[in-house]
Amino acid sequence: MNGGRILVIATLFMLAYSMMATATDHIIFGQYLRVNEGIEINYDIKIEVVEVKEATVDSAKFRISSYMLPEKTYTVFKGDTPLKYETRDGISIYIEVISVQGKTVFFEVKGPDEWRVSNYYEFEPEEAETEAVTVPKLEIARTLDISSVQQGQTVKVTLKIKNDGNGTAKEINLDEPTIKGTYKEGCPATLDDIAAGATERVSYDLKIVDAEPGTYELTPTLLNYKSESGASYSSESSSSVLVIAAKAVSVPKLEIKITIESGDDVMICGERFPATIRIDNIGNATTGRVTTKSRLPDDLRVVDGEIDPVYESIKPGDYEEYEVMLIAYEPGKHIIEMDVLWADDEASTSAEFWAERSGFDKYYIYILAAIPILLLLLWLIKRRREYSF
């Protein structure tokens, strides 16, 4: 087989030589090339075999390009006059198809004496163009205008549907989940066709009627649709979370606070000091009757004011405040506890302070204050000495 091929080439070579009569006689190339193979001549002209046809008249299709000239495809028939290809600077080469077999073509290239084949190579066949199929592709996004509601309120649900495909979506069915105890007002079950690239917005009101309070997962919206060719598709939104709260009820709520007027909560035994008690209604309804109840250490006396007053009512956002004068008789830690009671609820607080024996305490404080000053002074003296020689 191989031997035969060489023989054919040899004879053809000789034949070609004997026929040299054209203006340029130098044979630059005279060989077989397969489809998807190419040669480069004189580092410039590229000749690629694109197709080979065995028919009544055999032919081969070449793709040729060279410096500054775009590639062009030429069909050369066997036995025809050679194809003349002119480079940009006016030099011509001639291409002649000698024989064709299967996917192989034997051809000759003639041109200037000094030109040579500078490269052989293979290239990738061009992809056949596929026929375009139009496919719709719907993307759906669901948004809720609020994510937590109270019973009786309405949530606005918006569906944004975009056709990301390249074909129209038809026969679109929309399947939106339901939460028990809610009602979807104006939620369509079918949608008009959506063209490729178009975006559609649908919204409806989700009325919370008597759904149990809690956190609900709103499962994805489901879209079923068809392409123009009748194929079925579907897509889903992501799921959403909706928190439903019970209808707000108005209740009063009290808070009590004790403030003892002193810089550092140290009291002198036997000396009067004031304490302020404040009751705030931080709820959203007016209280009924409010009573207070104090629990004091044994040695603590109220010397002025009423420590357990009673109020008929406290409005929401309003407060009551009163002051009492106290005396502690024993040194040590003291804790005052207070409860405030209303309707069926109560709140409490406590405050603590130290009581010290009089007289010495004052010194004690001054001494305490003097120590850091003294230390600072010693420090400064030490530093000064470190730097004096």
Partner: protein, 365 residues
Amino acid sequence: MLNILILGLGQCGNRVLDAVNREAFGSGGTFAKYYSRQKFPASVKTIAVNTAINDLKGLTDTLARDRFHVPHLHGVGANRTLGKKVFEDNKEQIMSEIDKRGSFELIFLITSAAGGSGSSFAPLLVKELKKAYNAQIICIMVLPFREEGSIFMQNTAFCIRELVEERPNGILLVDNQYLKKYAGDIKSAYDKINTTVARRVLFMIEALNSEMLMVTDLGDLKTVMNGGIGIGTMGYYEATKDGTIKSAILGSFKPSGLLFPANVYDEGARAMLIIKGDKKYLDLDLITKTVEELSTEVGQVFKGVLVKKGRPKVLSLFTLNSVPELEKLYATAANAIRFEMDKREQSKKQLDDAFAHIDELEPIY
């Protein structure tokens, strides 16, 4: 962390060292020493050494325990021969004082060349330090005002020669005469010069001890100081508001920022550039290009880039191939010595002539 020792010898060295300690407090002002400590950019130990106790007493920001008095009560009075003898008698104490502070990779030795103590101690101390430590030794040497007199000039001449013979890693010159322009009176000129030197030394230490964008290290310093005749100086430039980094780098080569008069382009042997500033100013390509350009004129140029808040600041450090200014100084010194010698000869002759009057006479009682 680099271990660095800074030694200040003699009055001038002590005072420059004191400025280093003061600058290391940062922007705290006069009272910083009462509440804060020096914040050196590396592990730095300082010692001020002097024979004159009053000079040591005059320091303000150097810890008392970092001031070492070499007992020769009132100094050596600009007499280098006496200074050398005092050093030899006390070198064990001096070295053990240094030794207490650990070991070091880099030692700065600051002194004037003109005085007595510093200038006579410096060469001998370099010799001792080289024996005891495997450290780089950089001498920062302050040259006198030229009008300070013939003794100072000759001290300077001999001190530099002896120092060069001991081969420290490098000598950086600071020229009082050249820097006189800083201020009208001597005292504020001294203060300004000392502060300037102190800041540059701290800048250099910071750069050598930092993780830099482009690195300079002790090895680079050694190579730079090894260039030329091993004598060099420092330059500095702080960029103006809208100057480029290139103009800042070139600025640091300008004579106006140098501590000693030199023409870096003609006389420079090797150089090191330390560039510090906000990242946004540091165009590395431009830096590299500028440094390359400089390298063609100045020889090897090392560069370090430190990213720190603020406008670009550039410190340059050179060694020189030739020092014409030093030659002038030596010529002046030689003239001074000859003049002095002649004068002494003449005085001696005058005295001899006077004595001749009583030749062969005896007192009669």
